[in-house]
Symmetry: C2
Subunit: 208 residues, 2 copies
Amino acid sequence: MTTLTLDEKISKYHHGDLRNTLLALGTEMLSEAGVAALSLRKLAQRAGVSHNAPYQHFPDKESLLAAIAEQGFRLLGEAMDSAQANPTYPDPIERLIATGQSYVTFALNHPAHYQVMFGPLNNDAYPDLKATSHDTLAKLINIVAALQASGHLRPTPPLDLAATIWSCMHGLSAILIANKLPDYIRTQRDAAALSATMLRHLLTGLLA
Amino acid sequence: MTTLTLDEKISKYHHGDLRNTLLALGTEMLSEAGVAALSLRKLAQRAGVSHNAPYQHFPDKESLLAAIAEQGFRLLGEAMDSAQANPTYPDPIERLIATGQSYVTFALNHPAHYQVMFGPLNNDAYPDLKATSHDTLAKLINIVAALQASGHLRPTPPLDLAATIWSCMHGLSAILIANKLPDYIRTQRDAAALSATMLRHLLTGLLA
DNA sequence: GTGTCAATATTGACACTGTCAATATAACAC
DNA sequence: GTGTTATATTGACAGTGTCAATATTGACAC
């Protein structure tokens, strides 16, 4: 397979890799101006292609968004994986905290993308999206189960624990992206610090 | 003020209370078919008014959505208030848990409305929305501060604790609405039970 | 190579949307 | 009443998602 630059792809009649190009440029437009500003026609134009070419690769706009969301879950999963693989934190609990931070950091670095991932898409209508999001959750469940096996975490149902941690991290991400925590978070460092604080609270409990 | 039925309002040239009618019918459409299906023109038609009448009360569609979101935060606040006032739970910690459950229950009963509240609206562009959402958060902060004063919760910064609890409840709500927790939650009772379980985990900690 | 076919892209059309400008109607102050 | 203001209507426009019909290309059989 000859590797073409994006500009080369655009110049040909048969684009060659339009589907991936649309995903890439769509994600780009998303981060530039948000979901509301993402139109199929502008996207096609940016890809150097007629306004109906995307329909060869996606049955409708929502399917494109679902594919973008799916890719987002993959990227998020990779971010979590690399946090888990980071040798900076030999203690597995610290590694869990670092993983949570990487989750929130990912969300804040790609707010529009993240919003599509948890937006009004009907999950059940897109089996690939559903499978990918489940895979991402599975990563967290595995981490939790390992921490239970090593005696670090309570031996309650791992799905309960994973759901709790996930809810906390997702909730913080969404609240920060929606800007509902006023005059509190100013820098990304603040957000990372807050996510660590929250995870420690979660781990040790809130009761006096 | 003569109280008119909704149908009476619709039949008059000068509607009389179009703004509130649009909010009510808009919320109705939202719950029927989701954000994507909410169009200003269909809404105007349902209100029995020309397609441009809404512009007398909202500068654009997004402002309408912001007003609907604002109203959502008010309703959510009322739900939390009445959970706090519920005499069924004399123990303040149990009352906190019940309040959390009422939060999640509200979200699951009005999924589309809830999604608009945390959707891609630019919070800063709508001061009223911002103020109302802050008021809702303030309720939670007050509850937490009272529980600290009575010695039930740790004396760490109350905003930290409130943010943690809120993140957990919002995260669970959003994940359930987006249907990302597969084959786990089948009934609303399940969701309420899960939210209580999560809050108890949060209160007592996850560590072994 | 040539011919055929399926994949891919284009053109043109349509209904629908949000929004603007100009106009009409009603309510109200004086 | 008269005039002013708030409210609603009509008509227009560009932009959107999507459909149907058509054109172009690349691949593969022969």
